[in-house]
Symmetry: C2
DNA sequence: TCTAAATTTATAATGAATATAATTTCGAAG
DNA sequence: CTTCGAAATTATATTCATTATAAATTTAGA
């Protein structure tokens, strides 16, 4: 995935306004976190991170705001793990890989996807979700296998 | 997706045995339902369907058995909808489309998928999940749009 | 047929997410 | 800049799919 410039709070402010979203401190900070950190966090992770800065933040606000961002289509749901909703503010077409060892979710570049038999269907969303090991964890696993073989 | 012959209970019995799975009536019936109906049902749907035939069946057994089939890797999880685990006994590489109108999940044939930037990663599972409308619902929706425009 | 191990059941518990109702904040009109 | 109705946020209760537990039943080999 290509590198991108960090968004300032002003950038986020303008972006939300352009999408007809009323501004609040919480919305700015939650979106800023999603767009800049790009770790596809869960609602709980966002809450734990932001409450250090904003102690008045409540978990319900994080859940509500993320649901609202989904409705407004400025955030997409990452469903790579059952019972663990993650969120991504990058809307370009890409896949996700969850490392089953460290739990992190990585963006995956899709060169090409060709489907067939979709005549008559209408496709609104496409999600490509992989599960496996990230390079760091794969290396550790290989070392361990050599050790114990 | 290609048509396949309906599996008999004997076929299921042999298949489970080949995968070192102890036989029980419940396991036979649950797997038979998954492999023959191919509607990617939820645990609840399987329970509601099978309890008519087998009144002694309990919901916990359906959940336990599906989890067990996942561990044994004879069934795959379909995660196309948050908070709605669905199950598929067909292990060949294909995608799923959930119709957001009628709720049914369809198999989608994948002609080609090319990813890049995966150097160093190990990929254990790939899931392609689409959301949209099936042909029947898309047609109804188009008719309604014409009516009301 | 018998027996130990595995499976199934009924029930309670879990936990992420949502609903509710009271409180606070936002932002447009004056 | 102030006011005020609408919208956002909070704390709390609730929901609901799924998992855990412990007792009862079933399976499959001896």
């Amino acid at each position: 995935m290509e590198k991108r410039k960090r968004w300032s709070l002003e950038d986020v402010h303008q972006y939300l306004s352009e999408h007809d979203i009323r501004i609040s401190l919480y919305r700015l900070k939650i979106f800023e976190y999603l767009i800049n950190e790009r770790t596809h966090p869960t609602a709980e992770e966002i809450y734990n991170k932001l409450k250090k800065e904003i102690p008045s933040l409540s978990p319900a606000t994080v859940y509500n705001t993320l649901r609202f961002f989904l409705e407004k289509k400025i955030v997409q749901l990452v469903n790579v793990e059952k019972n663990e909703a993650r969120y991504d503010a990058t809307l370009s077409w890409h896949g996700h890989l969850k490392c089953l060892s460290c739990g992190r979710v990585f963006d995956i570049h899709i060169e090409n996807l060709k489907l067939s038999g979709l005549e008559g269907f209408q496709v609104y969303e496409k999600h490509l979700d992989l599960r496996g090991l990230c390079p760091g964890c794969a290396k550790i696993k290989n070392i361990k296998e050599v050790e114990y073989d």
